[in-house]
């Protein structure tokens, strides 16, 4: 196992580098070489983990991810940090609002977007045990814990965090913390939503989703990603092909536009209706219709 970075990871990768200096490689600001190099390592029997900012590695080196890694089905793990609006203050070039869409359309790629630090821990173990290409979508350091104790993380399996009735909220990524808070507001308003963390977007936990479709009347997906092509779209694909739809379905995500201002994460989430209050409000508005 090797950790490869494209000159990123300050105040994050140093512990690994200190403990395993010969397994750590900074290949500089050259993402296409970074992923091609990783493919070469995997062809030589190693397990390279490629670390970069989500926007850079999924966009600049997408052809290498597609042709070198996925087409050859190599054991390369791509880790993108700063997903969604994590780097909101830096501007649109650092926002990663397309990466789930881009990665999930690639054959052989698995797409994992953990909801809290315990899910991250579980996900890392799971992707290292998987023999093929994986994309791990991370936020930032210091995110709140949602789970109480370590989770039994399985690729392709969602987790029911709150049981609930009538309304189901399906989330991926660190927006889960806001979804849990929104759940609190909704409970005060008399709703009793199920909350599901769906950290693997490809493959989706179709069994859990089917169970949800059959038992719940109002289903929402929530993600810090474009409305187009992410978790919501993936679930919508299943909804659309299901014969019976005795439920309403609605995606909560970012609009199809670039963020035009600067701002810290909480502000940007508010502006884009992804704060916990806004999520709750969107859901309640749905019932007034």
């Amino acid at each position: 196992m090797f950790l490869l970075t494209g000159d990123l990871g300050y105040a994050a990768l140093e512990p690994f580098r200190e403990e395993f200096p010969d397994r750590f490689l900074n290949l500089g600001v050259a993402e296409q070489n970074l992923v091609g190099f990783a493919a070469g390592m995997a062809l030589s029997g190693k397990i390279p983990i490629v670390y970069s900012i989500a926007a850079f590695v999924t966009l600049k080196s997408i052809e290498q991810i597609r042709n070198d890694v996925c087409y050859q089905n190599l054991n390369v793990k791509i880790v993108g940090v700063g997903s969604g609006l994590t780097y909101s203050q830096y501007g649109a070039t650092h926002h990663s609002l397309e990466d789930i869409a881009l990665m999930r359309v690639l054959p052989n790629m698995k797409v994992i977007c953990p909801g809290d630090p315990l899910e991250v821990e579980g996900a890392v173990g799971a992707i290292l045990a998987d023999p093929g290409p994986c994309y791990l979508r991370l936020g930032a350091k210091g995110e709140p814990r949602i789970h109480q104790e370590s989770v039994d993380f399985r690729l392709g399996k969602g987790m029911i965090i709150k049981e609930g009735k009538g309304v189901a909220l399906i989330a991926c990524g660190n927006i889960l913390a806001n979804v849990i808070e929104a759940w609190g507001y909704l409970k005060e308003q008399g709703l009793n939503p199920r909350v599901i963390s769906m950290p693997t977007i490809k493959p989706l936990d179709e069994n859990l989703l089917e169970d949800t479709f059959s038992k719940f009347q109002h289903i929402f997906t929530i993600e810090e990603h474009s409305l187009i092509g992410g978790l919501g779209s993936a679930v919508a694909e299943l909804v659309a092909e299901r014969d019976r739809k005795p439920f309403s379905f609605h995606r909560i995500a970012l609009p199809d536009k670039f963020q035009e201002t600067a701002g810290w994460l909480d502000y940007m989430r508010e502006q884009n209706r992804l704060s916990s209050e806004a999520i709750a409000k969107t859901i309640l508005e749905h019932f007034k219709m």
Partner: protein, 271 residues
Amino acid sequence: MFQVEISKLERHAKHIRKNMIGMVSRVKGAHLGGGLSVVEILTTLYFSVLKVDPQNPKKTDRDRLIFSKGHCANALYATLVERGFAPSSALNDYYANGKLLTGHPTRDCLPGVEVSTGSLGHGLPMGVGMAWTARYDGQPHRIFAVLSDGECDEGSTWEAIHSAGHHKLDNLVAVVDYNKIQSLGRTSEILELEPFKAKWEVFNWQVREVNGHSIEELLQVFENLPFAKGHPSVVIAHTIKGKGLPGLEDTLASHYQVPSAQELSQILEGY
């Protein structure tokens, strides 16, 4: 240098050319010109330079060849067959429905095909990763990457060149099939590569230039690998696109056209 060796390789090269011209003409395929320019390079490598065993194509200490100019897979397939990695009947699968011999190589489509290529600029970065890993593991095998000249327009190629030079990967050898015609015209008119040697040297590579159709020169240059310890090696091989195809040598048309059925039988007679 034994003259016997050179004559033997020249016979193999002739046979490879004949099979390639037949194979690509049969399906009216593309990229014959760039395949013909790389024939002596591949012949010399597979018959005299690479430590490979057609009976054991995956043996761990083999030299690896990455055919980065994947569009000229026709040359790679014909060479692998000539070398004994597959029977000549395998060439009937070229472009064929349901068969594995795609126009650009897919890994293992034939024994001996190390890497899937086809989009230019991908081969050398993978080669750099393989070379670095081989050195890390203390393994003695070498990594060869065969590039096209047009491919040296790609930024990813230069990222790899930069990386290999920095990491002093002297188990890595690049060979550029410098036929000076890319897919819409001459390299000098589109994106001049000269001074080509200097560009590689500036990135810490050791460079040799040869006549890419002289098996003698190719043998001599490959005898001396690595050209210097602590530096990756590159052979800039001056070649002619469409070499061996009367009327199409050194033309852009050779990238796209094949002989007509009538021309073909005449040409193949000459082989």
